[in-house]
């Protein structure tokens, strides 16, 4: 039509080409070779400086919990019933209403000072115009520039994964296939890491999981998988989904053996255990990646580990993952957000900054049962990651607590009473 239109088309064409070339050179090629230009590191340092500025300008708050210590008074220590025995239970009950250890693990962690994301704005009032302007600028950068960039990368990463693993699936089983499959998996996961602008620091890589072992880690979000798998090759375990996830799962398993279960098989614990032990016995297969908590927790604590993975006879390689909440909250609150919504939120945060610690391998010791072993591993992970070690079950996110715990408390109290009762009744009989 008009020369103006031609000009527009030309400009668009050129900008797209430039865009993709830059993407290729600075992001995709390094991802393939596992190198880094240090762009993300620089980005992170700049952000940190900005956030420190904001903190100094006074938009911070005190985050001590609003309760109580449980030091006031021991349990009912007198051995005869008194009407004041109820006071102990009252006090504990009210303390747990004011603040408890469990319910707060299922919602995102609160921040000390605002990080310019609306979603983390809990109680921060309007502080100053400067802050609001910064926030506006942040929105523009995040949604206008970072989000499209990350989406492009994510789509590239996932499509390459599906395409290449399917292609590799045609090769005969052998060293070449194994080698290629490793490279492809690593490359695609690295692209995904860049798609999230994830800045990961790996510690103690000498303890990385080896073939025939089981890798266990604390679970905060589905991104944990991407973070671990971009530094090593694992066999994934999980349920087969439909849709895009299912497609990815099916093509991945063509290139190297993963353990996918049908929905019906998941309930069958023996079947699950058998497949896991078969996989582990075969030393040519990759280490299994499992999240024993069974559900996403908000990264301030580690909750009960399900004993299933600890019953299998093999070395366990614990891994602790800790996210830095200042840059973006990685916790997936599945009751609030669906997967797509969650991924979009991830891609429009500043960045995902986390530390991964590979802990020395552990095995079940003589005389230790699966539950004790699981607790030992859990304590090690909690200690390394600076997380609170809880005995509560992550399943409490959705389900009710078992009555056995209440019964234990009742038993304890009864013991205190019954002690004197026996004495009294024998005294009564003799007098």
């Amino acid at each position: 039509m008009s020369p103006f239109n031609n000009l527009l088309c030309m400009l668009l064409g050129i900008s797209f080409t430039v865009w993709f070339t830059l993407l290729l050179v600075f992001i995709i090629v390094p991802a393939i070779f596992g190198l880094s230009f240090g762009i993300r590191g620089l980005y992170m340092k700049t952000l940190l400086k900005e956030l420190k500025e904001i903190r100094r300008n006074g938009s911070s708050r005190d985050l001590d919990g609003s309760a109580s210590s449980t030091t006031t008074g021991p349990s009912p220590s007198t051995s005869e019933f008194e009407m004041s025995d109820t006071f102990y239970f009252c006090r504990r009950g009210i303390e747990s209403i004011v603040d408890d250890e469990v319910t707060k693990r299922f919602t995102a962690e609160e921040l000390e000072s605002w990080n310019l994301l609306t979603r983390s704005n809990y109680n921060f009032q309007h502080i100053s115009t400067r802050l609001t302007v910064l926030w506006g600028l942040g929105v523009v950068i995040r949604y206008g520039f970072l989000l499209p960039l990350r989406l492009t990368l994510a789509i590239t990463g996932v499509s390459l994964l599906v395409v290449f693993t399917t292609m590799i699936g045609f090769l005969p089983n052998g060293r070449v296939k194994h080698f290629l499959s490793e490279k492809v998996h690593l490359m695609c996961y690295r692209i995904c890491v860049r798609a999230l602008t994830a800045i990961i620091t790996y510690h103690h890589s000498e303890n990385k999981p080896k073939n025939g072992g089981i890798c266990v880690a604390n679970h905060t979000s589905p991104i944990d998988v991407i973070i671990l798998a971009s530094d090593g090759c694992y066999a994934m375990v999980g349920q087969i989904h439909g849709g895009l996830m299912g497609l990815i799962q099916k093509s991945m398993v063509k290139a190297c053996p993963h353990i996918w279960f049908e929905r019906s098989e998941v309930k069958d614990r023996h079947l699950v255990a058998k497949r896991l032990s078969d996989h582990v016995k075969d030393k040519s297969k990759l280490p299994i990646l499992i999240f024993p908590e069974g559900t996403c927790i908000n990264n301030t604590s580690v909750m009960m580990f399900k004993k299933g993975s600890f019953e299998i006879a093999s070395t366990v390689y614990p891994v602790a993952i800790k996210y830095d909440p200042r840059f973006g909250d990685a916790f997936w609150n599945s009751s609030k957000f669906g997967m797509v919504n969650y991924l979009l939120r991830m891609m429009s945060s500043w960045a995902i900054v986390c530390s991964v610690w590979y802990l020395p391998p552990m095995s079940r010791q003589e005389g230790e049962d699966a539950v004790q072993f699981a607790n030992r591993v859990k304590a090690a992970i909690a200690r390394q990651g600076g997380l609170v070690d809880l005995l509560w079950d992550g399943g409490l996110k959705r389900g009710k607590v078992k009555d056995t715990f209440k019964e234990e408390q009742q038993k304890l109290y009864s013991k205190i009473l019954v002690g004197t009762m026996c004495l009294q009744s024998s005294l009564n009989m003799s007098s």
Binding site: S96, T118, V401, K406
Partner: protein, 195 residues
């Protein structure tokens, strides 16, 4: 989006709650955040299920009775005022010296009011008397299945015998106060609220 908890609580409300309960401004806003996080239905009031969702409370033998204390007669929604009023019973007594601007009458966390809270835990039918049955019910809640009916019955009988002064085989509030006069109620029925 993050919870806009504090924006739903107006300054006038905070002042009124301050006068009624003696909590400080920051304590009230913090407890409001907690109230809001417990309120899964986001309707400005807590139901019994909201309380039951706290695992540590659900395994407390007296959990149900404690939860009951938050709900006024016949209602099953607890609003924030009611929530604060009930929690105020557990404020430590020393804190009263700092807050002199309380309105009429006795503060909610006086010794008498703390004892009234504990009394009401037993007195389910609110007839101002703890009958043998009501006492047995609470005992049963605390010991579970571990003590026989006869033993429990004799414990209840002994307790009533020691407390009952007017021979009606029930414990009235004044008899309850008398039995517990040597007990450090102020300490045992208080928890620390951080400022």
């Amino acid at each position: 989006m993050g919870s806009r908890a504090s924006s739903l609580l107006r300054e006038e409300d905070i002042e009124e709650i301050k006068k009624e309960t003696g909590f400080s401004h920051s304590q009230i806003t913090r407890l409001y955040s907690r109230f809001h996080s417990l309120d899964k239905g986001e309707n400005g009031a807590l139901s019994r299920e909201d309380f039951q969702r706290i695992p540590e409370l659900a395994i407390n033998p007296l959990g149900d009775r404690i939860i009951n204390a938050f709900f006024p007669e016949g209602e099953d929604q607890a609003n924030f005022r009611g929530f604060m009023r009930t929690l105020a019973h557990f404020r430590p007594v020393e804190d009263n010296e700092k807050n002199k601007d309380l309105t009429s009458g006795e503060p909610l966390n006086s010794r008498t009011n703390k004892l009234l809270f504990a009394f009401r835990l037993y007195d389910l039918d609110r007839d101002d008397k703890i009958s043998r049955d009501e006492l047995l019910q609470v005992l049963r809640m605390m010991v579970g299945v571990n003590i026989s009916d006869e033993q429990l019955g004799s414990i209840a009988d002994r307790t009533i015998q020691e407390a009952d002064t007017n021979g009606d085989m029930c414990i009235s509030f004044s008899e309850f106060i008398k039995v517990l006069e040597k007990v450090d109620v102020e300490q045992k029925m208080s928890i620390r609220f951080l400022h």
